[in-house]
């Protein structure tokens, strides 16, 4: 193992610790905000926004997506398209199935 490589991993470890602290802080923020009993649309927006930030941190740094190969990004882009379509299905069917009738 070269010293450059070791220094690189040391830098990664520092990032992991920073991400860990941020995730803990965001978890506490999520719980505290839920105590305010905000109207459902606002509460859902905030909770999902915080969860998305947390999820992105896990994916980017722990799963190393921030520096992955193009093929993996392509696979995930395709997955994201189908995932959004899947979540949109209940929305488009909700108003008397207007779009899917």
């Amino acid at each position: 193992m070269t010293s450059d490589h070791a220094a690189d991993i040391d830098r990664h470890v520092k990032v992991y610790i920073t991400v860990f602290v941020t995730l803990m802080a965001l978890t506490i923020i999520t719980v505290v905000i839920s105590r305010f009993h905000l109207p459902v649309p606002i509460a859902v927006t905030i909770a999902l926004l915080v969860a998305t930030i947390k999820g992105s941190l896990v994916a980017c740094y722990f799963m190393h997506l921030i520096s992955e190969k193009k093929l993996i990004y392509a696979v995930l882009a395709l997955t994201a398209i189908f995932f959004v379509a899947l979540l949109a299905l209940p929305v488009v069917t909700h108003h008397d199935g207007f779009w899917l009738r």
Binding site: I17, F62, F82, V91, T93
Partner: protein
């Protein structure tokens, strides 16, 4: 015959076969949980009224479990980093901690489930509990699966470190990707079920 492209990357994909394999598997997992999240949205938006999660579920226990699972993600990535730094002993410690934290998560979940059953709350009781038990139950199966793989790499599977350390490091990275995914799913399950 040796398994191809376990250490060296395939020229056409720029990846090892294991890496692309685990990401394709995770893509299918996204769709599996996505289908259940879509079901949740459909059931919730179609219901005349929907209970707030914290009126039925135990938020302090779930918050504790969130902290446990996030911590286990950190120990998992540190286990991989230890192998990258050629420190097998440290890898064992971090991997052991990851498995242990997975165990803590399951024990807490056991108490949560037991409490619900004792109170007469079952999946058949109402739609909220049906989707709660389905989503958390499936997630729990993933925790058990991840723990089994991690335990294999902590124990008998670690023999590979002596003969092919790079391959072993790659395998630990792949099991780590699965474990982080399990953490990621919980990050969304926690507010969705418990807080909203």
């Amino acid at each position: 015959m040796d398994i191809p492209y376990t250490v060296e990357v395939r020229p056409d994909t720029g990846l090892t076969n294991g890496k692309i394999g685990i990401w394709l598997f995770l893509a299918s997992e996204v769709m599996l949980f996505g289908a259940l999240f879509a079901s949740y949205i459909l059931i919730r938006t179609g219901a005349p009224s929907w209970p707030r999660g914290d009126t039925i579920l135990n938020v302090p226990l779930a918050t504790f479990n969130t902290i446990v699972l996030i911590s286990s993600s950190v120990t998992m990535v540190m286990a991989w980093a230890s192998l990258m730094r050629n420190r097998f002993g440290t890898f064992r410690l971090y991997m052991g901690a990851t498995i242990l934290l997975g165990g803590v998560f399951l024990v807490v979940k056991y108490f949560e489930y037991s409490h619900k059953f004792e109170a007469g709350l079952f999946p058949s009781t109402n739609n909220f509990l049906a989707i709660y038990f389905t989503l958390t139950g499936l997630h729990m199966l993933h925790v058990i699966g991840g723990m089994a793989v991690n335990a294999y790499f902590w124990g008998p599977g670690a023999k590979l470190w002596k003969t092919n350390p790079q391959w072993f490091t790659n395998r630990v990275e792949h099991s780590g990707l699965f474990w982080h995914f399990v953490d990621l799913v919980w990050i969304f399950l926690f507010p969705t079920l418990y807080l909203l």
